[in-house]
Amino acid sequence: MTKTSSATAAKKPAASAKAADFGQAPVNAKLTAAQKIELYRTMVRIRRFEERSLRSYQAKKIGGFLHLYIGQEAVATGCCSLMGANDHVITAYRDHGHAIAVGMDTRALMAENYGKVTGCSKGKGGSMHYFAPDKNYWGGHGIVGGQIPLGAGLAYGIKYKGLKGAAMAFMGDGAVNQGAVHEAYNLAALWQLPAVFIIENNGYSMGTSQARSSAGQLAKRAEGYDMAWGQCNGHDLYEVRATVDEHLRMAREQCKPSILEIDTYRYRGHSVADPDNTYRTKEEIEEYRRTKDPIQVFQNLLVAERVLTEDLIAEIDTAARTEADAAADFAEASPFPTVEDIQKDVYWEADNPSERKSQGRLFFD
């Protein structure tokens, strides 16, 4: 629901009671059974991919950081499922879910995690820096909040080119306190850019709870910029889709930016390196898993709708595991970049020497 008034948004009751209503929202009511199954499948594929990545990380096949999306699957799946040809996405380093949801090949994603040349960024970016401009997916960004002005810029580009589309710029609940985020909010509101700023509020930024990091309600900051805002439950795919659809329409049809805060939860530590034992209880995590798991919530809904059967659930799960294993096998079998590759993809002109116009030395070894 979108608010422009100063009324405080009460947190919506989670899960099943209201979920049925969101299933009736036009954007969900029009879904065929096959489309619903695909949405469910996407969430399962994300989870299995993440679990496989975790195993590969533990086997030391993946270096650096690994920020898993487990628990948040309905957010990326719901949002990205609404993308049309002129809609674009940008996010932070917890980027695997969005990548799979926009349709990137999980083999290229896993190969990127492994640092292989067959990765979506040729092994140069790693897990935090996936990119696929052909899928309107602009990364994968490591600096907290740094992607949000880019999101405003994508919206600017859409408007400048006269296209009817929207840019979804995702950030975490910790990112909202970066100055760059506020500068982007202001520009988007001032220039009426078709942007939807989506706060994936999983309650924590690393080991810091929302209460210890942010004054006031996160999305409500929109009011200072005269922007519309909303909040929704991110454990229910139908609710995510119904709410995001409104925000996207506002952007596409009226060129109005907005902020949407989606409540979600991550089951794993901040990154795989986070021992996750100082800032929340095991009971809290268990409670979310038991009552709000986005895959389970949607599975229950689709079983009730007779769209999913036990057999189909098992089949989807097996296929997702097989896909994740195949991605890992592909990554394993792929070669690493070479030392010569280090200096490729730095300058357009160096990669296209026959079309070079500038002169002088580009590299300084």
Binding site: G126, M128, I143, V144, G145, G207, T208, F336, I342, D365
Partner: protein, 325 residues
């Protein structure tokens, strides 16, 4: 002498300075309740309480700027950047405000702030998290820049940094946090601006700092054993102020220079050193000054390739043999 990790040595310096001076405050993301992203500040909240050890939101421009402002009133903030790479978010605060306020006020205002945290590659965290900004920082008169390579240096230099009346930027290394070394007991202070000869030799001077000191020491051993070459290693420890005299003295002894730095080559610390050495010791040189830096590109993620992008013992060895040839 007792042996501590580099991490512990920094923690001890912080604890001792918190104890000594009530104006010292530690601030940063996850430094208090989480005990530090790299556990450098572990236990300090429990010992000193939340007035002295303060968690901040993810808002580098805001909290670093606030630290600079507080320092103008005489508070001595020791700010942790989870990674120095995030300094760019606070660039204006660090390099417009901290670096300039003393000058622009005609010397009326001091800014006794320390900003510390890791600045290094080699952990496969990609281009956004692998910056080594010592050259960028040192380009600004008014600031001091420290890059310690050992536990003892880290402790002694950090204590000097905290007592200094100008902004001091202290660049650590996540790959050194676990390295152990002897640290003198009691009050251990290393003054800023004094280089340290980490190994004496007569055939070649390697000028280096930070983790590259370790690679250089390894290469020097191989050079000694397998090539009969005797290498002197000058650890700068502080980039600004720069102890050029110790460098020149070594050059006058060996007549050959290799600079090793985990830096992008363009306008690096080595660039500055090369200029000064050729300018002040041209007649001492028997060979052109050589330099080994990071391969000139953003940091690659791919783990085995990143090793080759950075200085490592093998690359130092190869470069040293070129200068000795």
């Amino acid at each position: 002498m007792p042996v501590f990790t580099y991490r512990e040595a920094i923690r001890h310096a912080l604890a001792e300075e918190l104890e000594r001076d009530a104006n010292v405050v530690i601030m940063g993301e996850e430094v208090a309740q989480f005990n530090g992203a790299y556990k450098v500040t572990e236990g300090l909240l429990a010992k000193f309480g939340d007035k002295r050890v303060v968690d901040t939101p993810i808002t580098e421009a805001g909290f670093i700027g606030a630290g600079i402002g507080a320092s103008m009133l005489g508070v001595r903030p020791v700010m942790e950047l989870m990674f120095w790479s995030f300094y760019s978010v606070a660039f204006d605060q660090i390099l417009n405000n901290a670096a300039n306020v003393r000058y622009m006020s005609g010397g009326q205002i001091s800014c006794p702030i320390v900003i510390r945290g890791p600045a290094n590659g080699g952990t496969n965290v990609g281009a956004t998290h692998s910056h080594t900004p010592e050259n960028v920082l040192a380009n600004h008169p008014g600031v001091k820049v420290v890059v310690p390579s050992t536990a003892a240096d880290a402790k002694g230099l950090l204590k000097s940094a905290i007592r200094d009346n100008d902004p001091v930027f202290f660049l650590e290394n996540t790959l050194l946090y676990g390295e152990k070394g002897e640290v003198p007991e009691g009050e251990h202070i290393v003054p800023l601006g004094v280089a340290d000869i980490k190994r004496t030799g007569k055939d070649l001077t390697i000028v280096t700092y930070g983790r590259s000191v370790l690679h250089s020491l390894k290469a020097a051993e191989i050079l000694e054993k397998e090539h009969g070459a005797s290498v002197e290693i000058v650890d700068l420890r502080t980039i600004r102020p720069l102890d050029i005299d110790t460098v020149l003295k070594s050059v006058a002894k060996t007549h050959r220079v290799l600079i090793v730095e985990e830096q992008k080559p363009f306008a690096s610390v080595g660039t500055q050193l090369s200029y000064m050495i050729q300018r002040e010791a041209f007649d001492e040189l028997d060979a052109p000054i050589h330099r080994l830096a990071t391969v000139d590109a953003p940091a690659i993620y791919s783990p085995p390739v990143e090793v080759e992008q950075l200085p490592n013992a093998q690359r130092v060895l190869k470069a040293a043999l070129e200068v000795l040839a």
